[in-house]
Amino acid sequence: MGGINELKGAYIRSALNEGKRLDSREVFEMREIKVESDILSNAEGSARVKLGDTDVIAGLKVVVEEPHSDTPKEGNLVVSAELLQMASADFESGPPSPAAIELARVVDRGIRAGNCVNLERLFIEDGKVYSLYVDIYVLDYDGNLFDACTVAAMSALMNARLPKYANGELDRKDRNTQLEIQNVVTSTTFGKFGDNIVLDMNADEEQAADARITITTDGKTVRAMQKGLKGHFTIDEVERLIGISIKKNADISSRMGK
């Protein structure tokens, strides 16, 4: 295993020195994003996203609960992600790995910091608010889960319907109200190999990368960033990638809700 990965990694790196990727993409070209929205009828919102061969599904459930004490007039939004064992021979059973926790928290931070959903509209009455739980399941892994999961969570929020709450009960069959989407965030994750940087790494590229950075934007400003792996970025590189990330927002958002 290790030996083959090393050889593959060396090949990926040497091709990149000539500006080439093994799947013949440009360095800042994303794989095709396909979104199928509202595919599950029991969930209050859902989306399945394919980014190349990476395949994830997001489901949204709504519950009524007490608000947090520091936000008594706002509903809650929690995004989490899980690496299913079926998605890769390398994913193990047991408690979530640090990498899985990082994925879930980075996607969650991007959507929250993006102020994507008007949470004040989720207020029902004193002591009662709607909470939105978005769970993302990774079904098939071919790299760049960060960006695929952000598209999936965002798409599920965009087609979600709030069930009616009356007389102390939630009627899940009666759901018509859409969420108020204030901002559409997208993330772009870049990998660095020596001095070469690419967008949207596949699984082979991910195992060979020195460093990784995820930048989440709303198309105008930066909402979240996360650098990963042991390599480094320079300040100038980060600035340049922020520019690219902001530009990609429109194209990626246009795939959502389809």
């Binding site: 520091d70 936000t71 008594p72 007039k73 640090p98 990498a99 926790i101 990082e102 879930a104 928290r105 931070r109 991007g110 929250r112 910091a113 102020n115 950075i213 105008k220 400003t221 930066v222 909402r223 979240a224 960033m225 996360q226 650098k227 990963g228 792996l229 042991k230 390599g231 480094h232 970025f233 320079t234 300040i235 980060v238 600035e239 922020i242 520019g243 902001i246």
Partner: protein, 241 residues
């Protein structure tokens, strides 16, 4: 980046709640070599933050199958003591936040330490936050770097940690707890001493490109002070012998 309710005014006449200017660090004190058993250690006071860092290793890898025959591996455990915050009693042990922070700090030192010198070994970095007052991960990185150096572990370069935030619309360095609670954005970083390489970068909130540039510049400027305090702590350790 949290609640808007009861948000205090954080800037008064260009100064922050604790009287600091936007580019001003809190008071920092670092002491190296504070524990007897650990191979290296450091104690750090940063504002009201109180951090203790300990290094064990290089030593045999446990469990053995994690060993890398070509290089040392780094393990890092960041954890906040149950009594560390002004709020309620915290849960002991590592929550999801602590696991993520441990991971990104580990990656900083995988870069800095010359791992190839110690095949089949592990180097443990233990970070205990005894009292927290915002920017604890930056504080921990500073303590860990000094502790690693005090253990005599060879590094390509030293590292410092620092955070910037957007506080009442103003970019400020070294955000404290109250600023962090109500700020518009927060950006912790780890940067190498010699060539300003970004080894840790996280951000959430809202900043535009020019604000982020300003944040980087402020972090690097404040870094001069942090770097000299780290060096001074290591020198003091040997003077005391």
């Amino acid at each position: 980046m949290a609640s808007k309710i009861n948000k205090p005014k954080l800037m008064h006449n260009g100064k922050r709640l604790d009287g600091r200017m936007p580019d001003e660090l809190r008071k920092i004190r670092i002491e190296a070599g504070v524990l007897k058993n650990a191979n290296g250690s450091a104690y750090l006071e940063w504002g009201k933050n109180r951090i203790i860092a300990a290094i064990y290793g290089p030593r045999d890898v446990v469990p053995k199958h994690f060993a890398d025959p070509n290089a040392a591996i780094i393990k890092c455990r960041y954890s906040m003591a149950p009594f560390s915050s002004l709020e309620e009693h915290g849960r002991a042990g590592q929550n999801r936040r602590a696991i993520e922070i441990s991971k990104v700090i580990k990656e900083v030192f995988e870069n800095a330490v010359i791992l190839e010198e110690f095949p089949n070994s592990e180097i443990d970095i233990f970070l205990e936050v005894l009292q927290s007052d915002g920017s604890t991960r930056a504080a921990c990185i500073n303590a860990a770097a000094v502790a690693l150096a005090s253990a005599g572990i060879p590094m390509k370069d030293m590292v410092y940690g620092v955070s910037v935030g957007k506080v009442d619309g103003e970019i400020c360095v070294d955000v404290d707890m109250i600023e962090d609670n109500y700020s518009e954005a927060d950006m912790p970083m780890a940067i190498s001493h010699r060539d300003n390489r970004i080894l840790l970068l996280q951000m959430d909130g809202e900043m535009d490109s020019s604000e982020i540039r300003k944040g980087f510049d402020m972090a690097v400027a404040a870094g001069e002070k942090i770097k000299s305090l780290q060096r001074e702590a290591l020198l003091q350790m040997y003077k005391g012998v």
